[in-house]
Amino acid sequence: MSVVFGALFTSDALRRRTAWVLQVLALAAVAVLGVVERARDAAYAIERTLFGVAFGFLAPLLFLALFEIVHRRERTSAIVAPLARHGQSRRALAAGLLGGLALACAAAGGVLGFVAALSSGSPADAGSFRDLFACTWGGAAIGAAYAGLYAVGSLAGRWGRVAALALDWVLGSGAGYFALPFPRANGRSLLGGEPVIDAPQLVALAILLGLTFAGVLLSAFRAPR
């Protein structure tokens, strides 16, 4: 029951106009820039769109915005507190809220990946359908991993989330050991970019999924019952 209440918090917040406007703007920007990239040079246009504007710049900001819309500058514990005091478990409420956000971020990431591949790929390319599919589920995995990262950041409120974004930006841009726990590096590896510590894509996928579950559960279980 508490998990459902937590998910309802997320669902209510993300149904606001702000959330939809932000997502539409992000998708529009990716679509326009994808078309521009393809027009400029069709070769590697998908890679430039995915690693550049889509998952290199807009996606982390979009996921952060979704977290802010739900959290309203606060920690997760502060959002669930008004209902927890009436007899619901803080942990279950937080798990529901963050789980809902992970699903929302995964959906947003999936759509972002799909639009990036669609706008920058060549319809004549034989592998374009496969690219669409791969970018969609890859984007979903990246979105969920960012949710895990921001869930941990939400233990410290807005500044925790901003710090998580900054660390991801700085350390996740590399490909060494420091980049290992960040969605940016592993997302890039999953989508066919530079691998992290030369690990295969499967490892990148495992790390992204691990980040999702570990982040959500760690953040939820840090709260008292």
Binding site: F9, A81, R85, H86, G87, Q88, P224, R225
Partner: protein, 363 residues
Amino acid sequence: MSGLTFDGVSAGPLLRIDARIGPGLTVISGDSPTALALLIGLMAGVERPRLGQVRLENADPHRSPEERRRTAALLAREALPPAPTVLRAVERVLAARGDGGSASRLLEASGLGSSARRRPSDLDPAEERALALAVALAHPAPRLLALYEPFHAGTAMTSDAIRSEVRRHAAAGVIVVVAALGVAPLRSLAANRLDLHGGFLGAARPELGLFRGSVSLRVRTPEPKRLVKALVDDTTLTGVHFDDIAAPGSVLVFGTDLELVAEALTRAAEASGAPIEGIVPTTMPVVHGGSPYGAAPPTHGAAPSPYGAAPPTYGAAPPPYGSPPPAAPLPAGPAPGRAPDQSVSMPTAFADPTRPSGGSEGR
């Protein structure tokens, strides 16, 4: 152990609180809104003590959703859970505690019937507290009802209606705690009375050997013994102290409300014929033993509890300190070399330990 227990609880301005509050109505007056609000927050499981334990029916309300479900509280600052509308937020609150009541009816009761479609974040703090009071009082089966300043909740409910609801819950065996600044709003509630002063929760139970109260006055009079004799029977006071060697012309008077203490002094002066030459407020939050005149410094917090191993019990449960009263913690015992009858320490209720202390209804 049943009831609501505080076991060495320290949090913020609260210092080593040891108490047990049983079913029935208990009112807590104090001089610090922060301390009172924190105390109610601890009871409701919203706040966590820095040291010690709060237990409701043997469970920590902060860690037990089950106990929180059976707790109805009005906090100093209220907030509705996130929801598209106020009505939906109240419905969620009711669903969270397993209450099948009507959210619309609660909104009407709190005077916010027209706000059902507003967003919860649009309510101002007074409206949130008014709504929270209605939600708390409408709890179908609470184990604990803890209210912070319910008579200043900006609600459409009248004070009489609030008192009536509070009494109804108390009569049903609920642990009801009402906290307020000063005692004026609480006068008409017949209840066990506690005083939260200087971070200490204690009592209006002077037979425990504590002088606690939000008011302490030093009264100068040439006839102190006559004045003390008239004062000791006044139940509106929490304590009277007289030391004819350290301060032969002064009587210390303790109470929880300045107006009540002044009235008691007037009555005593008229009855005894002892003239009052001057009244000076003093600062003396807690004295465990020693003389409050300064012969021995008062100790705070670190002093051993005068209650011994078991915390005091307030509420309907029989108090563990009946007659005769404990001898050890009595303040201002005769100093070495002083004749036993030269020091008089007479907390008012000490004169008759069987008399209920502090109740003011009907006076």
